[in-house]
Amino acid sequence: MTKEYETIINTITLPYRWALGPAWTRFFDGLKEEKIYGTRCRKCKKIFVPARSFCPDCFEDLDEWSDVSQEGTLRSWTLVKKSHYGQVRRPPYALGLIHLDGTDCDFIHFIGGIDLSDLKKVREKIKAGTRVKAVWNKEKNANIHDISYFKPLK
C-alpha cells in the first residue's frame, strides 16, 4: 500500500533582542534593589505597577515615580498542574493577581512559600483576599524573577 501522506518535524529557534525602554529599565533596575516601582498619573491619580511610561486610560505621560508597597491582597489565583512545551517552570506552580497596597491595578506574580503538591490544601491556604508579601531572590538579574514569589502571610 502506498503511504497517503508524510509529515516532517521542524523546530524553529530565532534570536530576538528587545529594547526595554527607559521606564521598564528603571522598573527592572529597581527590582535589583528590592524595590517595586509604579508610576502615578497626574490626571486620574492612579498608580500603575509595573511602572510604565504612559497612562493606559488617559493616554498621558507618566513621570511621577512611586516606590510601592511589597504587600498586597490576592484578587485571584490559579494552580498550574499541566505541562506544556516551553513552559516557564515545572508544575505545580501558582500564579496570582495581586492588588499591591496603595496601587490601582493588579500585579501578576507567582504565589509560593507553601506546599503546592496538594490542591485541596492549597485551596484552603490561598483564597481571594489572602494577604501576600514579596519574597526576593538572592540572585538578581534585573528581571521579573528578581522577585521569587509572593508568600501568603499567616
Binding site: 485571584s76 498542574k81 493577581l97
Partner: protein
C-alpha cells in the same frame, strides 16, 4: 446601509486532515465558489484569516495561502482573527467598491505546538510571558473570580461541557463528539485550577470559507441569503492587571452590534447564539454580557435549561469551541453554524424553534481581551 448576505459557505470537519495547508485551503475555498457557480476571477476580493508565524510556522503565510484561496491577482487582505476578517469583508461591500468577497480562514491544529505554548506568545516578553501567563492561566484566574464574585459553581461550569459536547454528537463537523456527565468533567485532570481538562477547548483542524455578497448579487448566488444585520467589536487593555476580568468589552461590542441591527431586547430577539467559549465558564459569562441573561445570572441560565438545543434560547447547538477549536477559524465556524440554523440546513443539530435572528460571537486575547459579534437574519 448597503444590504449584504452570506451567499455560500463551506467548512472542514475537525479531524486531522491529510492535506497540506495550501491544498486544504484550496479545497474549501473551491467548494464555496462551486456552490455559488463563480469563477475565481469573478470574485471581487478575498480576505484571509490566518495566524501565520505561531499557528502555521510560516512568516506571512498569506504568501502560501493566497493561491489556495484563489486570491492571486485578486484584490485582497488578511486578518489574524476570522470574525474580524468577516467584518472587514462587510466593510468592503458597504464601501461600494466590491459586490462579492470571499473570506477564508485557515488553521491546522494537528500540526502546531500546544495552545498554551502558542498563546504564551500573546504576552509581552518582559513581564507576563516570563511569569507563564497564557490563555489558560489567564482564563483560570478569570474563572475563580467569576465563581467567587457571582456565586457560580464548578457544577454549573461543567454543565456547559455536558451540553456542548452533547450537541456536537449531532454535528458531523465537530472535532470532539462524546457524551460526558458533570462528574466526568469535574473528575477530569486539573489543568490550571479551577479549570479541568474537559472544560478547555481542544486543538482542531479547520478551514472555513464564506462568500459574502451585496443584495442583488446575493439573490443570484443563492436561494437562501442570510442577511448581515449588524456587527460590533471592542478591545480591552493589554495588561491583565489593568482590567476588570468580569466586566470587559463584550457589553460594548454587543451594544454596537445591537444598535446597528436594531435589537432592543436581545433575550427575546436572538433566536440562537453561537458563542466562542474556549473555556466552559466563559459561555456563561459571555451570555451575561450579551444580555441573554442578567449580570451574575450565568449559573442560573445553564440550570434553567433554556440554552439547551431544544430550549427557548439555544446556545452553541454546534457544540461550540469546546467541541471544535480551529483557533483562528473559530469565528467563521460560529457564523456558518448561525447561517445553517437560519436557513434550516443544520440537519441533526437544527434547533426546534424557527430561527429568524442569530448571533455569532468571537473572542481572542487573554480572558476575552477582544470581542466581536455579528447579527444575522433570515
Amino acid at each position: 446601509m448597503r444590504k449584504m448576505a452570506i451567499a455560500q459557505f463551506a467548512q472542514s470537519a475537525g479531524v486531522e486532515s491529510k492535506e497540506n495547508l495550501m491544498d486544504f485551503t484550496y479545497r474549501i475555498s473551491k467548494e464555496v465558489l462551486d456552490k455559488a457557480g463563480l469563477k475565481r476571477s469573478e470574485v471581487g476580493c478575498v480576505v484571509i484569516a490566518s495566524s501565520d508565524i505561531f499557528h502555521s510556522g510560516l512568516s506571512c503565510a498569506n504568501a502560501i495561502d493566497w493561491d489556495g484561496a484563489g486570491a492571486f491577482m485578486v484584490e485582497g487582505t488578511r486578518a489574524e482573527d476570522s470574525m474580524f476578517a468577516f467584518i472587514y469583508a462587510c466593510m468592503r461591500i458597504m464601501s461600494g467598491h466590491f459586490d462579492t468577497v470571499l473570506v477564508t480562514s485557515i488553521v491546522k491544529g494537528s500540526e502546531n505546538p500546544e495552545n498554551d505554548t502558542l498563546t504564551g506568545f500573546f504576552a509581552d516578553p518582559f513581564y507576563m510571558r516570563p511569569l507563564g501567563i497564557n490563555e489558560t492561566t489567564a482564563a483560570a484566574m478569570q474563572m475563580r473570580e467569576y465563581m467567587q464574585r457571582c456565586n457560580i459553581t464548578e457544577e454549573q461550569c461543567a454543565k456547559v461541557v455536558v451540553k456542548n459536547l452533547g450537541n456536537a454528537l449531532f454535528n458531523p463537523y465537530a472535532h470532539v463528539r462524546k457524551r460526558v456527565t458533570v462528574d466526568d468533567v469535574l473528575n477530569s485532570d486539573v489543568v490550571s485550577d479551577p479549570l479541568k481538562a474537559l472544560e478547555c477547548a481542544p486543538k482542531s483542524e479547520g478551514v472555513a470559507s464564506i462568500l459574502l455578497a451585496a443584495e442583488d448579487k446575493a439573490k443570484k448566488l443563492t436561494d437562501k441569503p442570510v442577511w448581515v444585520k449588524g456587527f460590533g467589536t471592542s478591545m480591552d487593555h493589554f495588561n491583565l492587571g489593568d482590567r476588570d476580568l468580569l466586566n470587559g468589552q463584550l457589553k460594548i461590542a454587543a451594544g454596537r452590534a445591537y444598535k446597528m441591527a436594531g435589537i432592543r431586547n436581545p433575550k427575546k430577539e436572538i433566536d440562537v447564539a453561537e458563542i466562542c467559549e474556549p473555556y466552559a465558564f466563559q459561555e456563561l459569562l459571555w451570555c451575561e454580557k450579551l444580555g441573554l441573561c442578567g449580570d451574575g445570572e450565568g449559573g442560573k441560565l445553564i440550570d434553567s435549561g433554556v440554552t439547551q438545543m431544544h430550549g427557548a434560547s439555544p446556545v452553541n447547538p454546534s457544540g461550540g469551541v469546546l467541541a471544535m477549536n480551529p483557533y483562528v477559524s473559530r469565528g467563521l465556524y460560529r457564523l456558518i453554524e448561525s447561517a445553517m440554523q437560519i436557513s434550516g440546513s443544520a440537519g441533526g443539530h437544527q434547533v426546534d424553534k424557527k430561527v429568524k435572528t442569530a448571533l455569532a460571537h468571537g473572542t481572542h486575547g487573554f480572558a476575552g481581551q477582544c470581542h466581536s459579534l455579528v447579527i444575522l437574519e433570515g
